[in-house]
Amino acid sequence: MTFNLMVCAEDHSEVSQNDLVKSVFIYNFTKYIHWPSDDTSDVFNIGIFGENDINIPLREIARKKTVSGRKIQIKQYNSPEDIDHCHILFVPSGVKEMIPDILGEVKNKSILTVSDADNFSEQGGMITFILIEGKIKFEINIASLEQAKLTAGSELLKLAILVDENK
């Protein structure tokens, strides 16, 4: 993808291909997800729970890109209580024990939750990266989205594997 070159130009330590794809996907989600219109913040916050390598490519994107004209700010949370106002929250698979707490914390907030942990969707997460035949795909839990008053564009839904936790 197009960020490849940019990332390579950085002097940071090696970033894994998967992290890169994930970070791009996260950015691209902003184009298909609609947040409630009462959001008046002038900064688009992307939160990362705990230490994770993905923050390198995400910070790179944040440096260069905007979302609907708003600057992107990367926030790092180390405990569920830290989580404050953000638009997207990435939960790496390394903290999957804390997923129920985190999801409980953001419940009823318009925060798009994304994770690469198994069963994230089953636990009430909104978008989950999965690896199919070596390629990164993603699941969407529409019910969770609706609960958080978020909507997803049909284009996105068409590409996603849809999960319904009620089933």
Binding site: M1, T2, N4, V21, V24, F25, N28, K31, Y32, K135, I136, K137, F138, G153, E155, L156, K158, L159
Partner: protein, 749 residues
């Protein structure tokens, strides 16, 4: 192949319409085809563009989330469009992301396209478009469309257009043929009429059925042209006739030639000079018989020169006649032709020569005649005196000026006033010549008499403006006249005296002569009476009335009779002469026939011929009548004939009478006798003259006959003369008026 220009108007019209139609149709066809093709292409491009747009908008997410299957699904929607045969999507890393191929087009591969655009190649259109999200290029879409179906449709369209084209051409051709008849019909008539006019020169032809369009206008213009041409032609031929008349009337010869020395024309006078007609010259080269050699040489030289105009006198012999012509040549039209006018100055030249001759002669005569000439120019008070005039007065040429005073001042004081008055009077009213004599002072102071003969010249108003005269020195004549006058005066006195004496003597002599004649007249009569008795009785004796006579007696009596007869003749002649001289002769004038008279004379004279070898001939026409004294005429002729017979022994004696050219009767008596010597002829008609006295014995006569004859001829108003030579016979000729009149007789007296 014919050039277009030479084609008939009919063909031209058809061809032009066909050409126009073809061009329009071809352009239209090309435009239609092009437009159609462009439509096909544009619609193909539009189709491709909209398809691409659709594909792109539907494939962005598949690219963003690296889902080729989704992309291919999007691409597979293209199968609803038959012409789109291939589609490819390359991702941002230039890797083939998704691909679509219609059945039968799977083998086709596309190399990566990096730029947006539309390419046409081998019946296909390929559109390449970037797939973008915001500013971000996600990949590249290429769609390929097969144009063959549209191409086939286009070819079908072209077939239709060609079919329409052919139909259009055929229709246009048929229409053109129909239309051209409307246009070329009148044009053909115009052409035919033009040709007819050109061929026949008949300008009275006209175009009929004139329409009101441009061709009709052409027709009426043609008619007007013909009308004007006809008019011009008439004017031209009239002008030509007039020109010919003028040329022929000009008192000179006119010819005009082109620079090739060919005659373009001549006037009649020139042609007449050569005995030719003007037409004979046209087109002939200069050297032909209608040009003199001198003219040929002149014209050649003129054309070879750079002169525009030339004058020359040419002498030439034409038709054996010498001519002098003054020729004027003038080149015209860039020297393309020249006109020559010749004036016959032969007469003028002759006149000049004769004037010159006569002037020279006159000058010589003047010089020789000692005549001095003067000439007064009265108006300018100038005068001219000839050298001789000055010489008469002893002056050299330069010593007398050319003024009239030189003359006036030399007049004699005694007569100066008179001469000047005479001169002025004559000038005031000149009648004939003024001839006068007067004196002029010589250089040596003496006066010279001159005889002056002068004439005044008058202008139209009758005023004398010039006076010319000649003087002649008559001084010596005047002197001689004076001397003569004196001698004359003396002589006249002497002559008067002598005349008076002579007149007295003359009167006495006349009286004496008259008395003599009277005496003779009366005496002759007295003498004749006894002689008649002697002759009568001698005759009786010879006839033997008084008894026979012997030969000796007869011979002696013959002598007596002849002598008596001779004496009687002599007396008769003397009587006649004396009557004539006494002016007592009486004439008995009657009309009578001359032939009868001559016959009578011949008859009476024939006895005289006895014993001679002589022929007596009378020659006079029957119808000649004469009015005169018959007896006297007979006497004259008889006398001449008897004389002739007397002196002629053999040959002939003839008498001829006829009218001469002056309407006088001419009598000619000719003999072949002894003739008369020149010396004797002088005294022939004198009285009592017998020629050659020694021969008087042989030719006895009275010697009065010819004298009497001449007197009688004289009285009858005639003339006698003779012509003879010794030994060659004599001819006596006398003429008498056919009708005697008193007047003639009296004039003679």
């Amino acid at each position: 192949m014919k050039k277009f220009r030479d084609l008939s108007i009919k063909t031209k019209l058809v061809l032009m319409q066909l050409l126009v139609t073809s061009v329009v149709l071809v352009f239209l066809g090309i435009f239609l085809i092009y437009d159609e093709w462009r439509n096909y292409k544009d619609s193909a491009v539009n189709q491709l563009t909209s398809s691409a747009q659709l594909i792109i908008s539907n494939s962005i997410s598949s690219l963003q989330f690296s889902d080729p299957a989704a992309a291919e699904e999007v691409l597979s929607s293209l199968n609803t469009q038959n012409e789109i045969v291939n589609a490819w999507i390359y991702n941002g890393e230039d890797k083939l992301f998704a691909k679509y191929s219609k059945a039968g087009y799977e083998h086709y591969t596309l190399s990566k396209i990096n730029q947006e655009g539309i390419t046409f190649s081998k019946g296909y259109i390929t559109i390449a478009k970037k797939i973008m999200d915001d500013e971000e290029v996600l990949g590249m879409l290429s769609i390929r469309l097969d144009m063959s179906a549209r191409w086939n449709a286009l070819i079908r369209d072209i077939y239709s257009i060609i079919l329409a084209f052919v139909a259009g051409i055929v229709t246009a051709f048929l229409l053109a043929i129909l239309v051209q008849r409307k246009i070329s019909g009148p044009l053909l008539e115009l052409t035919n009429k033009t040709e007819q006019v050109a061929k026949t020169g008949d300008y009275s032809l006209r175009i009929e059925n004139i329409s009101s369009d441009e061709i009709g206008y052409l027709g009426s213009a043609f008619n007007r042209l013909l009308e004007q041409t006809q008019l011009r032609e008439q004017e031209l031929s009239m002008a030509r006739e007039q020109l010919q008349i003028v040329l022929d009337t000009v008192p000179g010869t006119i010819s005009w030639l082109d620079s090739n020395l060919n005659y373009l024309g001549v006037n009649r006078r020139l042609a007449d000079t050569f005995g030719l007609k003007p037409e004979d010259f046209i087109g002939q080269n200069l050297g032909f018989k209608g040009s003199s050699e001198e003219f040929v040489a002149f014209v050649r030289k003129f054309f070879n020169s750079k002169n525009k105009q030339v004058y020359k006198e040419i002498n030439a012999i034409i038709q054996n006649q010498p001519y002098t012509h003054l020729i004027i040549g003038q080149k015209y039209g860039d020297d393309k032709f020249a006109v020559f006018i010749g004036i016959d100055i032969t007469r003028i030249k002759e006149a000049e020569r004769s004037i010159k001759l006569s002037e020279e002669r006159f000058a010589l005569v003047l010089e020789a005649s000692n005549t001095g000439i003067w000439d007064f120019d009265i108006l300018n008070n100038a005068a001219y005196y000839s050298p001789r005039w000055k010489a008469i007065l002893g002056y050299e040429e330069h010593e007398i000026k050319n003024t009239s005073e030189e003359w006036e001042n030399r007049l004699h004081p005694d007569e100066k006033e008179r001469i000047i008055k005479l001169f002025d009077d004559y000038m005031a009213n000149p009648q004939g010549q003024l001839v006068y004599e007067y004196r002029l002072r010589h250089k040596d102071g003496t006066y010279r008499w001159v005889y002056d003969r002068s004439t005044a010249l008058r202008n139209e108003q009758g005023k004398s403006y010039r006076m010319l005269g000649s003087i002649y020195d008559i001084t010596s004549r005047k002197n001689a006249e004076a001397a003569l006058q004196e001698a004359h005066n003396n002589l006249e006195i002497k002559v008067a005296e002598r005349t008076r004496e002579l007149a007295e003597a003359n009167i006495r002599l006349q009286e004496l002569d008259r008395l003599k004649s009277m005496f003779l007249a009366s005496m002759s009569h007295e003498l004749r009476t006894p002689l008649n008795s002697i002759i009568g009785f001698t005759g009786l004796l010879l006839m033997g009335m008084a008894g026979d006579l012997n030969d000796e007696q007869k011979k002696q009596l013959d002598l007596v009779k002849n002598s008596a007869k001779h004496l009687l003749d002599l007396i008769n002649d003397i009587l006649d002469i004396s009557k004539i001289e006494a002016e007592k002769i009486d004439l008995d004038i009657n009309e009578y026939n001359l032939k009868e008279l001559i016959d009578e004379i011949i008859a009476e004279a024939s006895p005289l011929v006895n014993g001679k070898d002589l022929q007596l001939v009378g020659d006079v026409s029957n119808d000649l009548n004469m009015t005169s004294d018959r007896r006297r005429v007979k006497q004259i002729v008889m006398n001449l004939i008897s004389n002739a017979i007397k002196f002629t022994d053999r040959g002939s004696v003839s008498v001829k009478a006829a009218l001469n050219p002056d309407n006088m009767l001419e009598f000619v008596v000719t003999d072949t006798g002894i003739g008369i010597s020149e010396e004797d002829q002088k005294k022939l008609f004198a009285p009592f003259q017998q020629l050659d006295m020694s021969s008087s014995k042989k030719y006895d006569g009275t010697g009065l006959g010819l004298y009497l004859c001449s007197k009688l001829v004289d009285i009858l108003g005639g003339k006698i003369e003779m012509n003879s030579a010794l030994g060659k016979g004599s001819t006596f000729t006398f003429i008498l008026p056919l009708v005697y009149s008193d007047k003639i007789g009296k004039e003679k007296e």
